[in-house]
């Protein structure tokens, strides 16, 4: 029996969130490969960079015809044409998280909402700080996700008197975030809240705050829904009472939907946008997966 091949192309696990993506993708692949033993084979491939991902697409589609491709693109612009090339061979394309420049390519789109991650966090801070205060922000690696989150955040504080004192790159790396936060603390005597646009960085930020013994910081928030941070929310941590989810498990959702399209009778098409509601103590349990590495 000819098995239908579903290729899953995702970024390599180079920090917490992408690691989560890899974890969930592999989990999905394992489950599906054993559930549909003779019908479907899911192949997961990771790539450390956009150009490596393009290469991987070429490699995956060079030898065989893919029934479907599930892709979480490194960047939108760079992957658009290569995905289009795969599509033209008759492959079902599911795009996850980051849309391609040309939305007509995708058959199915499962996305998080990076802008909402930034905006919801900003709204929360504006609300809790009474519309004014000094903020410092840590951003990740210069990419689209990073850019969107920062844009969302900046939109979110518009109209309030919240002031962003500083914004610097910390490469989504907890070490760099630790150093950067130490420096922020040395530089600014009064900081009301910190936002790190990713939970990996938040861990470093918290450690630096703890070391400084400063009391002026009211909130230190992250984003992405890392289990350790969600746990803090559950425990009603004073500094980090809320969290924004950006679940890496969306890849799993996407893979299952793609399988449904292949094996099910009804076509599955369209766009599915996961929103990024604030995780608070009330709903935190729903977002807590202690067994995930992320």
């Amino acid at each position: 029996a000819d098995k239908k091949v579903i290729a899953v192309s995702i970024p390599a696990a180079d920090h917490g969130w992408t690691a989560g993506v890899v974890y969930h993708a592999q989990a999905a692949a394992k489950e599906i490969n054993s559930a549909y033993k003779d019908q479907i084979e899911v192949v997961v491939k990771t790539s450390p960079s956009a150009s490596a991902q393009v290469s991987a697409l070429e490699d995956l589609s060079a030898g065989r015809k893919l029934a479907a491709l599930v892709i979480l693109p490194h960047t939108s612009e760079e992957l658009t044409l290569p995905v289009k090339a795969v599509k033209e061979k008759g492959t079902f394309v599911t795009v996850v998280d980051r849309g391609l420049s040309d939305p007509t390519i995708q058959d199915l789109y499962v996305a998080g909402d990076n802008i909402a991650v930034g905006r919801n966090t900003a709204k929360f801070l504006a609300d809790k700080l009474g519309g004014k205060g000094n903020l410092v922000v840590l951003r990740g690696i210069p990419t689209v996700i990073d850019d969107e989150r920062i844009k969302g955040f900046q939109d979110g504080i518009k109209g309030s008197n919240l002031k962003i004192l500083d914004i610097q790159y910390a490469d989504w790396n907890s070490d760099k975030a630790f150093k950067l936060m130490q420096d922020y603390l040395a530089k600014y005597p009064q900081i009301d809240a910190v936002w790190a646009n990713d939970d990996d960085m938040l861990l470093g930020v918290l450690e630096a705050i703890k070391q400084s013994k400063r009391k002026d910081i009211k909130y230190a928030l992250g984003g992405n829904g890392m289990k350790d941070v969600v746990k803090k929310v559950i425990d009603n941590d004073a500094l980090t009472p809320v969290e924004t989810p950006y679940p890496p498990s969306m890849i799993k959702t996407a893979i299952y939907l793609t399988v449904a399209n292949l094996v099910g009778k009804a076509p599955v098409r369209g766009a599915l946008k996961l929103d990024a509601p604030l995780i608070t103590q009330k709903n935190a349990k729903e977002y807590y997966f202690p067994d995930s590495p992320f």
């Binding site: 696990a13 890899v22 592999q26 070429e58 960047t75 612009e77 044409l81 689209v144 990073d146």
Partner: protein
């Protein structure tokens, strides 16, 4: 008299010796192809091989330049960021010219890319030769500079190429001539020119002399500063050529374009048989080295044996083993 009789066998031995030394990377290449075929028979399919070799073109082209730099006793860590920077400048320029010039914006952009590459190389070269700073540090510095500039130019985002140019430019990467993908032809051409300069022109001799023994070169009236600086300029031009081929492939410049290419480039050069200490450079070996690297990555994608987390480990191990194979084939 007896010396004369000894001379003949001696010379022959040398000839043989040279051939073996240069064969190293190719032996590794063939070994890899064989292993690849055993693991996945699609590996040797024409499409797959064409893809892989075309992809290796960027690294190969840059590595040809690096062969000059390394054989002259230098090192350039900035090539990856430089490629990103040149790509960025080029795309911005072409986009700006597109409305007026139409498709002619493309050759204009290419010309500018070459000039920018030359200038970047000159900049690196001068810091190293006139400023007398270790190449490692100097180019680590300029690596940061170029990388920041592209980040700045793109506001931390993407600089996509204008849609009106996109299709016209596409063939530069995706086109074929006589069935051979254009990037492969370009990289062969660059290597041929590089080999010609390095082996058949005065400059090549001087480059190797400067790398082999700076003092001797100076005594022989060779300007070390000039020779080294030119090597970096050659490197700059090669980076620009790679950037020109790169643009149509991904259609955009981003702050992560060309990330860590420098390591791949140096690896390709070393796998190719050029020693990092300087001296003789091996252009064709470098080319083979670049293909070897890309094949290893390809093999990782095509084989299902390795956990995604361990891909890096297996790649690292294969590189080391490839070097051992090469070492053994020499003796």
């Amino acid at each position: 008299m007896n010396a004369i009789t000894q001379d003949a066998p001696l010379r022959q031995e040398r000839e043989l010796h040279i051939n073996w030394t240069e064969a190293g990377p190719f032996v590794a290449l063939v070994a890899l192809l064989a292993i690849g075929f055993l693991i996945n028979s699609d590996f040797l399919s024409a499409t797959n091989l064409a893809n892989v070799i075309a992809r290796s073109a960027f690294i190969a082209i840059i590595a040809v330049g690096a062969t000059f730099v390394i054989s002259s006793g230098g090192l350039d860590l900035s090539v990856g960021s430089m490629a990103a920077f040149i790509t960025g400048v080029m795309i911005m320029l072409m986009n700006r010219m597109a409305p007026e010039w139409g498709v002619w914006a493309i050759p204009a952009g290419m010309a500018v890319a070459l000039l920018v590459g030359l200038a970047c190389g000159l900049f690196n070269g001068l810091i190293i030769t006139v400023g007398k700073i270790e190449p490692f540090i100097a180019t680590l510095g300029t690596m940061g500079i170029f990388r920041s500039l592209i980040t700045y130019m793109s506001d931390g985002g993407t600089i996509p190429i204008d849609a009106s140019l996109r299709n016209a430019y596409r063939p530069v990467y995706f086109g074929t001539v006589g069935g051979v993908p254009i990037p492969i032809l370009v990289s062969l051409a660059v290597a041929a020119v590089g080999a010609f300069i390095l082996y058949r022109m005065k400059y090549g001799r001087r480059c190797a002399a400067v790398g082999a023994n700076e003092d001797v070169a100076r005594y022989s009236g060779i300007s070390v500063i000039k020779t080294r600086t030119i090597a970096y300029m050659v490197q700059g031009v090669c980076v620009a050529i790679a950037a020109i081929c790169y643009v149509p492939r991904l259609g955009a410049a981003t702050p992560t374009t060309g990330l860590l290419w420098e390591l791949q480039v140096i690896t390709a050069v070393v796998i190719g048989g050029t020693v990092l200490r300087g001296g003789k450079g091996r252009i064709w070996g470098t080319l083979a080295g670049a293909v070897v690297l890309e094949l290893i990555a390809n093999l990782m994608v095509l084989s299902d044996l390795v956990s995604e987390y361990l891909v890096g480990a297996v790649q690292g191990a294969i590189i080391i083993i490839a070097m051992l194979v090469q070492r053994l084939s020499k003796k």
